[in-house]
């Protein structure tokens, strides 16, 4: 493997770069969608701040439906939608749409769990002191749930890396594509194991960072 370093290094470099682009862009957009969705899944529950059976049931059902599809199927099934949004269903752009659709409900569910961890007594305390419901969501619940949300994002991020690898199927590029084309189709084992090692290192770094910051958030600030 080492003797082919000159040939492989740029290959891995570009693939890692493509993976990171897909992960970061879709994570950012999915977070923007997923966190409010997760918040809604909590506050629209009966006896919560904005009880609304219909909205809760609707969101809950949508999230459940999307969450029950494996990424590879979801990606292929929504090709028409992807084409509608970004004009193509292949490449990085074509992969980002299904990645968002896949990971946003995932984030929503995880955020929901983190939010439910916030003791309802705290919410009641601030309602009793005359805080508005909006203030309670933004200033109390979101803040109290921060460590939990951060850990959720870590889990989502790792799931997202796994999904980007599958996006290699639609020629999205990235590490998955590399492993598929070189590793599987040409049976180039050094490339395959190189990809595996990079993925392991990547996930380790993300998980450690996530744990570290969540702990920091929990202890202070």
């Amino acid at each position: 493997m080492l003797d082919r370093m000159d040939e492989l290094a740029p290959l891995f470099g570009i693939s890692l770069y493509e993976t990171l682009v897909m992960v970061i862009v879709s994570l950012v957009i999915a977070t923007i969608i997923g966190i409010p969705l997760g918040v809604l899944l909590v506050v629209t529950r009966p006896n919560h701040l904005y009880p609304n059976k219909w909205i809760f049931q609707l969101l809950n059902t949508i999230v459940n439906i999307i969450r029950s599809l494996p990424f590879i199927i979801l990606m292929l099934a929504i090709i028409p939608f992807t084409e509608l949004i970004v004009g193509t269903s292949i490449g990085i752009r074509g992969a980002i749409v299904p990645l968002i659709v896949y990971i946003a409900p995932y984030i929503a569910r995880l955020v929901e769990t983190a939010f439910l961890e916030v003791n309802y007594g705290i919410i009641e305390a601030y309602r009793g002191m005359g805080a508005s419901r909006f203030q309670i969501v933004i200033r109390i619940m979101l803040r109290e749930a921060r460590p939990g949300i951060l850990l959720c994002m870590t889990i989502a991020l790792i799931g997202l890396i796994g999904a980007t690898a599958m996006a290699g199927v639609i020629g999205a590029g990235g590490l998955g594509d590399l492993a598929l084309r070189y590793g599987y189709q040409q049976w180039d084992l050094p490339v395959m194991f190189g990809t595996v090692i990079i993925l392991i290192v990547l996930v380790q770094i993300i998980q450690s960072l996530g744990n570290y910051f969540a702990k920091k958030l929990k202890m202070s600030a």
Partner: protein, 349 residues
């Protein structure tokens, strides 16, 4: 100042219907400490939450200073709530904020300026005795300290009313005393009206002016703490007051006390200012009856002693009646607990 009229609350489950509160009427005066005592499940927590409408009554009226809260719009209700502080058994502090921020956050929400917040929070922490803990996080505080933060937070908006939801139930006796002292202190200093619920009579004794006893969603007895202690009527009240005669006056004791003359067991309540010894000896000498103390105790109600004596009085039937009416004149409360007839003249063993 706080008026609850015909309050009822029914919780509906899928199938069952629970009447948590039944036709409750309470009036709480400005500046007093009003206690609500009951076993768990009596509905006291629900009742407390109805005062600031965290719980809406199924029927009835909640008024504060003559304003019916149930007619208010959300924004108006929020303004009323800002003047009602609340503290909890489990404190409910923000774990991600330090002590200073826990107190400051509600002020920030209300757009108070930074300088004012700094001053206000410092004053409050001084009041509750936590001036050196401003930068600590709740996780590093003891239970008593957490409740002090809770109190400081509840006082941040300068409320007129403080609601205490089992505020000392999670604390050890010594810490409970210190928190109760603090509540008395702020009641005096700030003229705050305090409504507290508890299942510990000790709390009522130490701080309350008036008390309501709750059982199964109803108020079975209410009045001044002195009245309730000197003359508890309902079984639940007697239980809380620690006034269960059955355990004290046994059948063995009764048969031992039975003499030739008819006799009574009386329960006498003395307030702190009335002396007790002369009364009994006077009765004995002027009505030629014999008196024996069966049991005695002293309770302190907000610092004022209340003496309870169980006295056995025997003698001539008419003299006894006169003696009792004399006692009724002299003693704060007299209650006949048992009447013991004299032994029949012809006894066949």
């Amino acid at each position: 100042m706080i008026e609850l009229k015909n309050i009822s609350k029914t919780f509906h489950d899928r199938k069952t219907k629970v009447d948590a509160l039944k036709n409750i009427n309470i009036e709480i005066n400005e500046g007093e400490i009003f206690g609500i005592i009951g076993f768990s499940g009596a509905g006291k927590s629900t009742l407390l939450r109805i005062i600031n409408l965290l719980e809406e009554p199924t029927s009835g009226e909640v008024s504060i200073n003559g304003r019916n809260l149930l007619t208010l719009k959300e924004r108006e209700l929020r303004n009323v709530r800002k003047k009602i502080g609340i503290i909890f058994q489990q404190f409910h502090l923000l774990s991600s904020y330090n002590v200073f921020d826990n107190v400051a956050e509600i002020l920030r929400m209300n757009g108070v300026s930074k300088q004012e917040i700094n001053k206000k929070v410092k004053d409050l922490l001084l009041l509750v005795g936590l001036e050196d803990k401003a930068n600590q996080y709740p996780a590093n505080l003891s239970g008593g300290q957490k409740q002090r933060v809770g109190i400081a937070r509840a006082l941040a908006m300068d409320p007129d009313i403080l609601l205490c939801d089992e505020a000392t139930s999670a604390l050890d006796p010594k810490t409970t005393d210190s928190i109760l002292k603090l509540l008395l202190d702020i009641n005096k200093k700030l003229g705050l009206t305090i409504v507290l619920i508890t299942h510990e009579m000790d709390v009522i004794k130490k701080v309350c002016d008036r008390v309501a006893v709750m059982e199964k969603g109803e108020i079975v007895e209410q009045g001044t703490v002195l009245d309730i202690f000197s003359n508890p009527v309902q079984e639940t009240t007697n239980h809380f007051v620690g006034n269960v005669y059955e355990n004290m006056i046994t059948e063995e004791m009764l048969s031992a006390l039975r003499g030739d003359d008819p006799s009574y067991i009386l329960r006498l309540a003395f307030r702190g200012d009335s002396a007790l010894d002369p009364v009994l000896s006077e009765v004995a000498s002027s009505y030629s009856v014999t008196s024996n103390i069966v049991h005695g105790s002293i309770t302190y109600l907000k610092g004022t002693p209340l003496g309870i004596l169980f006295v056995h009085l025997s003698g001539d039937a008419d003299k006894l009646k006169q003696a009792i009416s004399y006692l009724e004149e002299k003693v704060y409360r007299v209650e006949v607990i048992r009447e013991i007839s004299g032994k029949p003249k012809e006894v066949l063993v």
